[in-house]
Symmetry: C2
Subunit: 111 residues, 2 copies
DNA sequence: TATTATATATAGGATAACAAAATACTATTT
DNA sequence: AAATAGTATTTTGTTATCCTATATATAATA
């Protein structure tokens, strides 16, 4: 499976919202989960993920809460806000529009 | 569609290669053709397209040739090189891999 | 004459993905 | 006890590229 990093651009926020809509997670867990679910395709770097989480939180789309644990480091669990759910819904639609538009170019009706 | 900009990022080169693989075109024509074929979705700006064409030509993927016309401005027609055809083929494969990976996140098998 | 459409080009700003390193704690191995 | 590996978050600096805006030029139309 050939991987092109450029393709991820502009989609990471949607992927994160989608993942957190299904389940609250903390940063490190998100990295592992994305890799697992995509069968190794997505390998988010810390320098990509954490700034993205902060961006989404600042925009009010997700909310992070510190969770103290006695046998490990504190973790910051993120969950989707109502605003985040609404955003995810529009982003899903935008993603479909985009796919459709690209396919019209890549696979035109008449060749 | 405010988000559209980010989705296009990293994909414009593939779109251009694909378009020029089907037919030689000049810049202005490409803008119009992309808009038409995508039913208005893609509206490339000059500041996006021309630098992209120069980038692709510099990389040896496309080749531009000036065509003089007596009743209009000169046009620079671009066509795909052999290297460009090879590149397009791998980019098509990458695009499919990417779609598959995203769909594994957006529509997981079990929810 | 002014505007619109055609046609190419580039400077400057904004955003985001990445590599890399810093920090810090826990668990396992030697 | 010390070293190593794994877990977990943060930040700095670099790079790529998409956009706005502007500049230039010609032909057709109002």
């Amino acid at each position: 499976m050939v991987q092109k990093r450029e393709l991820i651009k502009g989609n990471s926020d949607s992927l994160l919202l989608c993942l957190l809509a299904q389940q609250s997670m903390y940063g490190y867990q998100i990295i592992k989960e994305l890799e697992k679910r995509s069968q190794g395709y997505f390998q988010f770097k810390e320098g990509t993920l954490y700034p993205a989480l902060h961006r989404l939180e600042k925009a009010g789309l997700i909310l992070g809460k510190w969770q103290m644990l006695f046998n490990s480091r504190p973790r910051r669990y993120y969950h989707l806000t109502a605003k985040g759910h609404a955003k995810l819904s529009t982003e899903r639609a935008q993603w479909q529009d985009f796919i459709n538009a690209v396919n019209l170019i890549l696979q035109p009706a008449e060749i």
